[in-house]
């Protein structure tokens, strides 16, 4: 390149004037870049970035859900436990009350039975006493008659019975005994 040619080139050139072929080539290059990046490459990476964000956020969301679930379950268990305790206390109280009532009832029943038994015993004793007294009176009468007849030598049995002497005698004895008892008391 001779100096003249260089000079000529320098005179010709204005750095602020765009050369049209360059503009066209530049735009073509830009549209190649823009076309491939905008239509294919950036959407594909954007999809992957979105997926990654989803995976991370999804994982966090899942953990949160699980935690919330566990928390809810814990609350439920606690509530149930409290209720069960309450129920148990209620049942215990009820049983205690019922037991007290039962005991009182049984005690009353026992009292009643005891009284009945005692009363029956008394009645039996009275009856036995009466019977024994009657038998005794008869025996004593007959013994006394026999003895008297032996002593007197004759039978007084018929007579005595008819006359009721023995009975009268025995009554006197009884009343005397009763009087003596009353005095000793």
């Amino acid at each position: 390149m001779t100096p003249e040619v260089l000079l000529a080139a320098e005179e010709k050139m204005n750095p602020l004037l765009p050369a049209w072929p360059e503009v066209i080539i530049g735009l073509l290059c830009f549209f190649i870049v823009f076309g491939l990046l905008g239509k294919k490459l950036l959407p594909s990476i954007e999809k992957v970035l979105e997926e990654r964000r989803d995976a991370i956020e999804g994982g966090m969301k899942r953990a949160e859900t699980a935690q919330a679930e566990a928390q809810a379950m814990l609350e439920q268990y606690r509530a149930e436990l409290a209720e069960a305790r309450h129920e148990a206390a209620r049942i215990t109280e009820h049983a205690r009350e019922q037991g007290a009532v039962l005991i009182a009832e049984m005690r009353e029943e026992g009292q009643r039975q005891r009284e009945a038994i005692v009363a029956a015993g008394h009645a039996q004793i009275d009856a036995d006493k009466k019977q024994a007294t009657a038998v005794l009176r008869q025996d004593v009468g007959s013994l006394a008659s026999q003895l008297a007849s032996r002593i007197v030598g004759e039978s007084l049995e018929e007579h005595a019975r008819q006359s009721g002497v023995i009975d009268r005698f025995l009554d006197e004895l009884e009343s005397k005994a009763a009087a003596a008892q009353g005095a000793s008391k």
């Binding site: 260089l6 360059e22 080539i25 990046l37």
Partner: protein, 270 residues
């Protein structure tokens, strides 16, 4: 291949102690001999680089995102970080939820611009494609068409003009001055500054690196010049690192402004 290569070759023997004047690099650094020509249309190095850049961006994202996995590999992870950075820190931050639709366009734009800028410091490429104004102009036109279309689509013609020219909360008498300024600024200045900002930064950065690189070669000599040459070389290395930052920043600003124009277009009528 390019003019700079030819020139550097011609300078190979040109050092300051050989009585050779400093071959200051200039606009000729941005003018290339055509690789081939179709009729009157020349195919030059910046065009080739822009095609390579497009292929690099597509290739990277293809390798990273073509078969995406839920558990990303290394490449996919790097791609995701880049994509997420532009999507979240630029587009959604500026436009909000409505910006979701424009993410692919702005992501493509960011990485395309960034890689074209990075070409500045890649050996053998060593030319920021965005320092040829045609490339930022093309992208700025796309941004312009996008936000103008959105403005009129959303607000209708009258509402759209109002959205572009009628700032809210301003007393009436200021409108006489403000409305023409807003009209001019939002419709004509925006795309122009958008393109020129990116162009000028890359242009200046490239020129700086070339100046110091050429100077370190020019000053290289067995005499004291070696000292000057090494200083110049250190500066060139430092500038290269600095350019790495500027390249990213310009791509960031370009996409950020595009987002903010779109956000303005989508704004509710006030």
């Amino acid at each position: 291949m390019g003019a700079d290569v030819v020139q550097l070759a011609s300078e190979a023997s040109c050092h300051f102690d050989s009585g050779c004047g400093f071959p200051a690099p200039g606009l000729n650094e941005f003018e290339f001999k055509p690789i081939f020509s179709i009729g009157s249309v020349d195919f030059t190095k910046p065009m080739l680089l822009s095609i390579i850049c497009a292929l690099l961006v597509v290739g990277f994202f293809w390798a990273a995102f073509a078969k995406p996995k839920l558990l990303p590999g290394k490449l996919q992870l790097v791609g995701e970080i880049g994509y997420d950075f532009v999507k979240r820190s630029i587009v959604l931050e500026t436009i909000g939820k409505k910006g979701e639709k424009y993410v692919p366009m702005l992501v493509s734009m960011f990485f395309f611009v960034w890689i074209m800028n990075i070409m500045s410091i890649i050996p053998f490429a060593q030319f920021p494609v965005m320092s040829r104004i045609a490339f930022p102009v093309g992208l700025a036109v796309i941004v312009w068409i996008t936000y103008m279309t959105l403005t009129f689509k959303k607000h209708g013609f009258v509402g759209g003009m109002k959205n572009l020219c009628w700032p809210s909360g301003i007393p009436g008498w200021v409108m006489f001055i403000l409305v023409p300024i807003e009209f001019f600024s939002n419709i004509f200045v925006r795309p122009f500054t958008l393109a020129v900002r990116a162009f000028a930064n890359m242009f200046a950065g490239h020129l700086l690196i070339v100046v110091f690189s050429v100077a370190s070669w020019y000053l290289l000599s067995p005499t004291l010049g070696a000292l000057y040459g090494s200083v110049s070389f250190v500066v060139a290395v430092g500038l290269t690192a600095f350019e790495l930052l500027v390249q990213f920043l310009q791509a960031y600003i370009f996409v950020m402004l595009a987002s903010s124009y779109i956000a303005g277009a989508l704004e509710e009528a006030h």
